[in-house]
Amino acid sequence: MASDSLPLPGSIALTPSQEGSKAWLETVHEWVITVDHKRLGLMYIGYALLFLVIGGTEATLMRIQLAHPQATFLSPQVFNRMFTMHGTTMIFFVAMPIVFGFGNYLVPLMIGARDMAFPRLNAFSFWMTVFGGLLLYFSFVGGDGLYGAGSAPDVGWFAYAPLTATAFSRGHSTDYWALALLVSGIGSIGAGVNFIATILSMRCQGMALGKMPLLAWMNLVMAFLVLFALGPLTAAQIMLMIDRYLGGHFFDTQAGGSAVIWMHFFWIFGHPEVYVLVIPAFAFVSEIIPVFSRKAMFGYPAMVAATVGIAFVSLSVWAHHMFTVGMPSYGNAFFVLTTMVVGIPTGIKIFNWLGTMWGGKIRFAVPMMFCIAFLFQFLIAGLTGIMLATAPFDWQLSASYFVVAHFHYVIVGGILFALFGAFYYWFPKMTGRMLDETLGKWHFWLFLIGFHLTFDFMHVPGLLGMPRRIYTYEPGRGWDIWNLICTIGVFFQIAGVLVFVFNMIRSYYRGTPAGSDPWDAWTLEWSTSSPPPAYNFAKVPVVRSRRPLWDLKHPEDPDWKYE
C-alpha cells in the first residue's frame, strides 16, 4: 500500500496493520455473509456465550445485593432492571441461540446432509436473533428517551399486564423489550421451519426416521414446539405493541381488558419454551451417554415416544404457572393432572439413560461427567417440579425463591450442564482440537460446587417465605444465611466459567489435535474431518442403522442385523 511516493514518517509501521485490518475486515465480511450451517452454528454459539457473560454479570450483581439483608449495593430501580434483563437475556439470547447453534452445526452433519434445507433463511434467522438482542440492550442507552439517562426494561421477564401498560411503564424500555422478543421470535420461527424441513427432507440415503440419531429426533420435536410456542408469544407482543402504540385495550384493565389473558398467552408460549430448551439438552445427553458407556442407546423407540409425548403434553400445562390467580378448583385440578403427567415420559427418559449406562464400561471423560451431573440434577429438578405441580403446595411456593431455585435447577443444573458436556464432546469436531481434560475437570468441579451452593440452598428461603424479585429484605426472617451461601456459590460458578473460557481459548490454539473421531463414536459427524469441510461430506453417506460408524468398525456384528 505505502508506495515510494509517500515517504511519510510512520507509514512503514502503518502498512502491515492496514493490511491486517483489511484481511480482518474480509474475514468479518465472509462471516457476515455466510449461509454455511457450521459457521452460522458457531456464530449462534459465540453470540450466546457473549450474552451468557452479560446475563451472568447481571445475576452476580443481584446476588451481591441479596447477600445481606437491607443492602444498598443496588437501588430498587436497578435491581428490577437486572432481574428483567437477566431473565430475558438468558432465555432468549443465551439458551435459545445456543441450542439453535448446536442444532445448526450438528443436525446436517448427523443426518448426512451438506447444509440446512434453507441456508439463506438460516442466516436470516440468525441475524434476526442478533438484532433482537441488540434492540434489548439498546434500551440501556435509549430506553427513557427524554429523561436523559437510559433505562432497561423493569417489568419482569414475563411482563405481567397491566404493569406493561403505558400508565405504569412510561418511557420506552418496555417497547424495546417487546420489540426485541418480536424480532428474535421471528428468527426463532424461521429456525424452527428450517430444522423441520432439514430433518424431514435432507436425510442421507437409508436414514429412515427410525434410524436417525436421537439428536435429530429431539431437534425435530423441539422445532415443532418452536412453531407452536413462538406463535403465541409473537401474537402477544403484537397485542402489547397495539396497546402501547395505538391505544388498544387488550390488557387495559381500566377498559375491561384482562390481565389474566396476558398470563395465559405468555405461558402458552412460556411452558413449551422450557421444553424447547430442555429437549436439545436431552439430545446432547442421549448422544454422549451411549458413547461413553460404550453401549447403544437403551430403548430408542421409547425415547422417541417419550420426547413426542412430552412435547404434546407440554402444550397443555401452561396454567400451572397460574395456580395463584384464582382459577376455579376444577381448572386448577386439570392443570395439576396434565403437569404431573409430564413426569411419566420424563421418568422414562431418565430410566433409559440409566439403562444405557447399565452393563456398560463407563469412561469418565469430561463430557460424561457433565452428563452424570445432569442426570442427578435433572432428577431433583423433576421432583421439585412435582412439588410445584401440587397446586396447594404451589400456593405457598409460587413466586417464591423455591420456584427460582427449581427453574434454575432445570436450566442451569439440567440444560447448562448438558451444554457444557456438549461443548467438551463436540469442540474437537468444531475446531479440530481437544479441550484440555485437566482444565475441564477443574471447570466441572468448580461449577458443580458453585451450582449446588447457590441453588440447593436457594430452596430454603422460599420455604421460609421469601418472594422472588425483591431487592431487599429485613433481618429476622431466617433468610440471611441462605442468601449468603447462595451468593458465595456464584463466585465458584464464575471461577468455573472462567476456567472454561480459558480452556476454550487455549485449546483452540494449543490443544491436542483431535483427528476425525477422538471419542470412538458412532454417528455420522465423526466420519468427516475435524473441522468438517464446507460441504461436510466428500461423498454423501449411505447408512443402514442408527450407528453407521459402529457398523463400519464392527463389520462382523453390525447394528442393522438387530434393528
Binding site: 381500566q254 453401549k295 421432583l383 426472617r477 444465611i481
Partner: protein, 355 residues
C-alpha cells in the same frame, strides 16, 4: 417482629418416625437460619396456623415423602451404575455387550410412574377442593383487601370502616369458629397476598375479584408480603396480620368505627394538612380529607408501622416520611410535599393525635 410459639408443635396429630426426623432436620436448619437466638422464621410454610395452611402442609409433607422415596431409588440406581459399570484398568479393549432395549422393562417403568401420578393427583385434587371450595359460614368476617402500589387497603364492609397495612382478624378455633373471608382486588397492577403461616398466596388482579380465607387458631402477629412483582417497591410491600382474641378484636373494631379525634391543640397542623395536597390522596373520617389513593389515616396512630410495615410508627419516622418518602422507601408513590420545617412539625403533631 417475631411471632413465637406454635411452629413445629402444630403439625398434624400422628407423626411417623421419618416425619419426626424431617422435623428435627428442619428444626436444625431453622436454628441455623435464626438470627442467633434459635428462633424459627416467622414466615415458614412449615409452621401452619390456620386451616388452609394446615391442609397445604399435610399434602406438602405427603409429596415430599413420595419425592424423597423416588429420589432415593433413582439416585441410588444412578450411583450404583456409575460405580459398578465404570471402566476399570483391568478391562480389555472389547466393547461391552450391546443391549438395545426391552419392552417389559419399558412397561414396568411406565406403569409405576403412572400409579404414582394417579395417587398424587387424587390427593391433590382433594386438597384443592377442600381449600378453594370451602363454604363461608354465616358468622364469618368479611374483609376486602385492595392492593395498591405499594401498600394494602383493608375494608371491613360489615363494620363500615377502612384501614390500611395492618390487617386485624379474630381468632377462630374449633369451639368458636369465626373465619375471615378475604375479597381480593387491585387498584393498579397485580399483587399477591401471602402470609405463609395462614394460607397459600392468592393474587390481587385489577378488573378481577379473587377470594381466600383464613381461620387462625392462635393470637399473634403473622407476617408476609406481596409476592407478585408489582413495580419498583414490590420488595417493601409487607403484610402484617394481627390475630386477636374475640373481645380485643371487637374493641379494635369499635375504635376504628369512630371518626377521627379532633384535638384543638393541633388545629394549625390540621389546617396545613387540609390545605395541601395531602387530602387528595388521604382520608381522615370526619374531616374534609377524603382522598382514596393513599392509606386511610383516620386512626393512623393505632397502627404499629408506617409505609406498609417497613418502619415503626413514631414521631421521628412520621416526620421523615412526610418530609421525604423516598428516603425511607425509594420509588414510593407518595410525593415529598416540600413543607417548611414548622409546617412539617405541625402536620406531624396533627397526625400524632389520630389515635
Amino acid at each position: 417482629m417475631q411471632s413465637r410459639g406454635q411452629k413445629l408443635e402444630s403439625s398434624p396429630k400422628r407423626q411417623p418416625a421419618w416425619q419426626v426426623a424431617a422435623a428435627l432436620l428442619y428444626a436444625a436448619a431453622t436454628a441455623l437460619a435464626g438470627p442467633g437466638n434459635g428462633s424459627a422464621s416467622p414466615t415458614s410454610v412449615f409452621a401452619p396456623g390456620s386451616t388452609p395452611a394446615h391442609s397445604i402442609y399435610d399434602i406438602s409433607i405427603f409429596v415430599l415423602e413420595i419425592s424423597a422415596a423416588i429420589f432415593v431409588v433413582v439416585a441410588g440406581l444412578l450411583a450404583y451404575a456409575v460405580v459398578k459399570f465404570r471402566q476399570r484398568r483391568s478391562d480389555d479393549e472389547t466393547e461391552p455387550s450391546q443391549v438395545y432395549g426391552s419392552n417389559q422393562i419399558e412397561m414396568a417403568w411406565t406403569v409405576i410412574p403412572v400409579l404414582i401420578v394417579v395417587v398424587l393427583f387424587l390427593s391433590t385434587a382433594q386438597v384443592i377442593h377442600r381449600v378453594e371450595d370451602a363454604r363461608r359460614p354465616p358468622g364469618a368476617i368479611d374483609v376486602t383487601v385492595v392492593g395498591h402500589q405499594f401498600w394494602w387497603e383493608y375494608r371491613y364492609p360489615q363494620f363500615g370502616f377502612t384501614s390500611a397495612n395492618e390487617l386485624h382478624v379474630p381468632v377462630s378455633n374449633a369451639s368458636d369458629a369465626m373465619p375471615t373471608f378475604l375479597t381480593l382486588l387491585s387498584a393498579d397492577t397485580d399483587h399477591s397476598f401471602w402470609v405463609p403461616r395462614l394460607a397459600g398466596k392468592t393474587d390481587l388482579i385489577p378488573n378481577r375479584t379473587n377470594k381466600t380465607w383464613v381461620n387462625p387458631e392462635q393470637p399473634g402477629l403473622y407476617l408476609g408480603q406481596c409476592s407478585q412483582y408489582c413495580g419498583t417497591q414490590h420488595a417493601l410491600m409487607l403484610l402484617r396480620v394481627y390475630v386477636q382474641p374475640r373481645e380485643e378484636f371487637d374493641r379494635w373494631v369499635r375504635e376504628q368505627q369512630q371518626p377521627a379525634t379532633l384535638d384543638p391543640s393541633v388545629a394549625e397542623g390540621r389546617r396545613v394538612f387540609e390545605t395541601t395536597a395531602c387530602i387528595n390522596c388521604h382520608t381522615v373520617r370526619g374531616t374534609v380529607a377524603d382522598g382514596r389513593f393513599g392509606p386511610d389515616l383516620t386512626h393512623l396512630m393505632s397502627r404499629e408501622t408506617l409505609a406498609s410495615g417497613i418502619i415503626s410508627n413514631n414521631a421521628a419516622n412520621l416526620r421523615l416520611w412526610i418530609h421525604d418518602p423516598d428516603a425511607i422507601k425509594p420509588g414510593s408513590l407518595m410525593p415529598a410535599m416540600n413543607l417548611s420545617d414548622p409546617e412539617l412539625d405541625q402536620v406531624t403533631a396533627y397526625l400524632l393525635t389520630l389515635h
